[in-house]
């Protein structure tokens, strides 16, 4: 008998995740069926083109009108609808015309959730940061491109060195930047000022000085912008407290390769770190103690870790082209999917519900998920492409809300008519 030990992968609860890879594909993975669903790729969006390699992504998954912003290697930022992959808007980074886009790749991208300006039309605000340190906040108006919604605010994050990451906190008013030769620094986004910079730990007794090179960082909790965890190239993980001091509060070593991804847990004191040789571990950051490693034959560098906001599971993806889903409590591998390309980022779609609803066939023009504009009397509902049943379920959920909204608009239109009539 061949000597084998197989641990059966237990299935995972219903989930939907989007992965971004280095060939420009966005793959949608869904797992259906409670208690033991096997995730499968349901859709692939994009064309294979290495210059369109997806470098950064940010999902704003609110219930109404979710948006997905992606940044590609050739400097183009696109805004897509995460339900069906339709391209809503595309912005090309033409601020520095002299520099080739490949040299100044976008490193971090964040799509703001709350509206920054009082525009009622569909607009969204993006914070983008490139390797040379050019950070910019742009507001793009997706409906009317001619409307110039203000010049983008740009500033230089660092004088020299390369930026490796940029993160925005839960309240969306503070941003973190750091990288090779650049210490972790926190900026206030409203005033565009740097409020805090980290200081390297004092030289050790041997006098050895390692140059700063931070590879990833995250805010420790959504509400508190003061605690920051950063991972460095020489396999150190550091906790900084902005309100206390500039030097790291806790700093510990993890194995031998650079820490490529850090993600925080919703309980505020556990973090997940992934490094360049595929080791994923969870650490209690209050004490710096390693809680445990996630063992599951991951042999490639982990590029991104995502924590599901409700269910206790995390997804990790990396250069070995696998997306793995783990259970947090038992640190077991729930499932793994082979996705054929080097993956750069993964995000969870939280509004996915696996309801079995009867399909309403007599509804060819599904109403849009727009926030209904009162100014327009004749509504033009853009038809949504019905691609899979999950989207129909989503439409089902949204239809209820829209029906309510539509009733509201009908009333308002009637009111307007009455007003104009009188």
């Amino acid at each position: 008998m061949p000597r084998t030990t197989t641990v059966d992968c237990t299935g995972c609860p219903p989930l939907r995740a989007l992965t971004f890879d280095s060939l420009g594909f966005i793959k949608v993975i869904e797992a259906r069926g409670k208690g033991g669903g096997v995730p499968k790729v349901v859709e692939i969006w994009g064309d294979p083109d290495a210059s369109k390699c997806l470098v950064a992504a940010s999902l704003n998954d609110r219930k109404i009108d979710p948006l997905l912003a992606v940044a590609r290697k050739n400097g183009v930022m696109e805004i897509l609808n995460p339900l069906n992959g339709e391209l809503s808007f595309s912005v090309s980074d033409d601020s520095n015309a002299g520099v080739r886009p490949e040299d100044n790749v976008i490193v971090g991208l964040h799509l703001f959730g709350k509206r920054r300006l009082e525009l009622t039309s569909r607009s969204c605000t993006l914070l983008a940061c490139t390797t040379k340190g050019h950070a910019s906040i742009k507001t793009v108006d997706m409906v009317d491109t001619k409307v110039d919604s203000g010049a983008p605010k740009t500033w230089n994050v660092c004088a020299s060195g390369n930026i490796s990451f940029s993160e925005v906190d839960g309240s969306e008013s503070y941003a973190l930047f750091g990288g090779k030769g650049v210490e972790v620094n926190m900026w206030d986004l409203e005033k565009c000022t740097k409020i805090w910079t980290a200081k390297p730990p004092p030289r050790n007794s041997l006098g050895i000085f390692t140059p700063t090179w931070f590879t990833s960082a995250t805010f420790l909790s959504k509400d508190d912008h003061r605690k920051v965890v950063a991972g460095s190239n020489n396999h150190q993980v550091r906790l900084y407290d902005v309100s206390a001091q500039r030097r790291p509060v806790i700093s510990f070593d993890f194995r031998d390769t650079p820490i490529k991804a850090v993600a925080e847990d919703t309980d505020g004191h556990t973090i997940y770190i992934g490094n360049g040789s595929g080791d994923l571990a969870s650490v209690d950051i209050r004490t710096g103690k390693l809680l445990g490693c996630f063992l599951g034959k991951c042999s490639g560098s982990i590029r991104s870790i995502a924590r599901h906001p409700e269910l206790p599971m995390i997804a990790s993806c990396g250069l070995d082209s696998y997306l793995r889903i783990w259970d947090i409590g038992t640190r077991q591998l729930l499932s793994s999917i082979f996705l054929k390309q080097h993956l750069t980022k993964v995000v969870f779609d939280t509004n996915f519900t696996d309801e079995e609803v009867k399909h309403d066939v007599a509804a060819p023009d599904a109403p849009s998920i727009d926030e209904v504009q009162i100014a327009d009397e004749t509504e033009k509902p853009p038809t949504k492409r019905k691609k899979s049943s999950s989207k129909e379920n989503k439409e089902r959920i949204k239809k209820k809300k829209e029906s309510r909204e539509k009733e509201g608009t009908k009333k308002s239109i009637q009111e307007k008519k009455q007003k104009s009539g009188t």
Partner: protein, 355 residues
């Protein structure tokens, strides 16, 4: 004792037929005592030897029966019974979902976009830089000389005390396409580092079973024609990538008249390197009398057929490689991120291979 008691009990309880069955069962149980449960060494070894002998006799009987059946079938003109397929480790290999399928669009797109496509599409000609680790060794220089003769357009540079990162920079400036570093341990070459340039992946191979040209009997001397390349059995995505890395070392336009072939054969994650010269010959084979009965023209004459075969003459070194890790960028121990690194927790199955 227990057997006897059971016998008497059952005799009383059940009928005669059942007694016979139960008797047979008792006898069977007696025969199948495992030798490992006998504590007495002499008795145990005697039982074991007897078992082995019995198995051998059974096997011989089966073989004779099979041969006889095959012969009979041939004589009667029917098809011989199906030959049984032996169970090998390659047959029972664990199903791997990363195996490249021939109709995979993403695979072709990925190939177009990867680091080797420029070389493989003949936009760049391969230019190899070979160097060693810092300390010299006994067999190292001989091996490097042979490598220089195997790989066309390869240049050897002495290592000196340069940092490998500096060497990569230097090679990029001089437009090399790959670097091969032969690492030695205990005066024997034991690792090969293949670095694709300019940003290419770094493959770290463990080298073993090295046989130099002078140690091969009846070896041939390679010419300087461009060799043909044979890559066998690189099935998974990782294997495909490693195969392309190896392919990018050699020029893409082989000279068939040179009759020189270099083979990288992957079996169970070991890559065997062989270097041959071949020659086509026509060999006349005559059909034997005894088999003339089965031939379609039943005249029983000897018919001479001409068959073209290829004869091989081995030249050049012979070695085996095993992939230890594949790094995403150029060589960087500290800051490197790995695409594939071997971890002991992956070895839980004897039927799982990665290349």
């Amino acid at each position: 004792m227990g057997g006897k008691r059971k016998n008497t009990e059952n005799e009383g309880m059940e009928g005669d037929e059942d007694i016979q069955n139960i008797n047979k069962k008792m006898k069977k149980e007696k025969r199948e005592i495992l030798p490992s449960s006998i504590k007495n060494k002499e008795k145990r070894s005697a039982v074991h030897a007897k078992l082995k002998h019995q198995k051998k006799l059974e096997k011989r009987k089966k073989l004779k029966a099979r041969d006889a059946a095959a012969k009979r079938a041939i004589e009667l003109g029917e098809e011989p019974p199906q030959k049984q397929i032996p169970r090998t480790i390659e047959n029972t290999r664990e199903a791997d979902e990363t195996v490249c399928m021939p109709d995979d669009e993403e695979l072709f797109a990925g190939n177009d976009a990867d680091e080797f496509s420029a070389i493989l599409k003949q936009d760049r000609t391969p230019k190899i830089l070979i160097t060693t680790c810092r300390f010299n060794s006994t067999r190292g220089p001989a091996f490097i000389n042979e490598l220089l003769s195997v790989i066309p357009n390869a240049h050897y540079f002495k290592r000196g005390t340069y940092d490998l990162k500096k060497i990569v920079e230097y090679a990029n400036n001089k437009e090399f396409t790959s670097i091969i570093v032969v690492h030695t341990n205990r005066r024997e070459p034991d690792a090969l580092l293949v670095i694709g340039l300019p940003y290419g992946p770094t493959a770290h191979f463990k080298l073993s079973s090295l046989v130099l040209r002078k140690d091969i009997k009846n070896h041939g001397n390679p010419t300087s024609h461009e060799p043909e390349l044979v890559l066998n059995n690189f099935t998974t995505r990782l294997g495909h990538r490693v195969g392309r890395l190896i392919q990018s070392l050699f020029p893409q336009s082989p000279n068939f008249r040179g009759r020189r072939v270099v083979t990288f054969h992957n079996q169970r994650d070991f890559v065997f390197f062989r270097h041959h010269r071949y020659i086509f010959e026509t060999k006349e084979t005559k059909q034997c009398e005894s088999k003339g009965k089965k031939s379609k023209d039943t005249k029983g004459e000897t018919i001479s057929k001409e068959k073209v075969i290829a004869r091989l003459q081995e030249c050049g070194p012979r070695f085996t490689l095993k992939l230890v890790s594949l790094q995403h960028g150029t060589f960087d121990t500290k800051g490197g991120e790995f695409e594939w690194v071997h971890k002991p927790e992956m070895d839980t199955s004897r039927r799982r291979f990665f290349l």
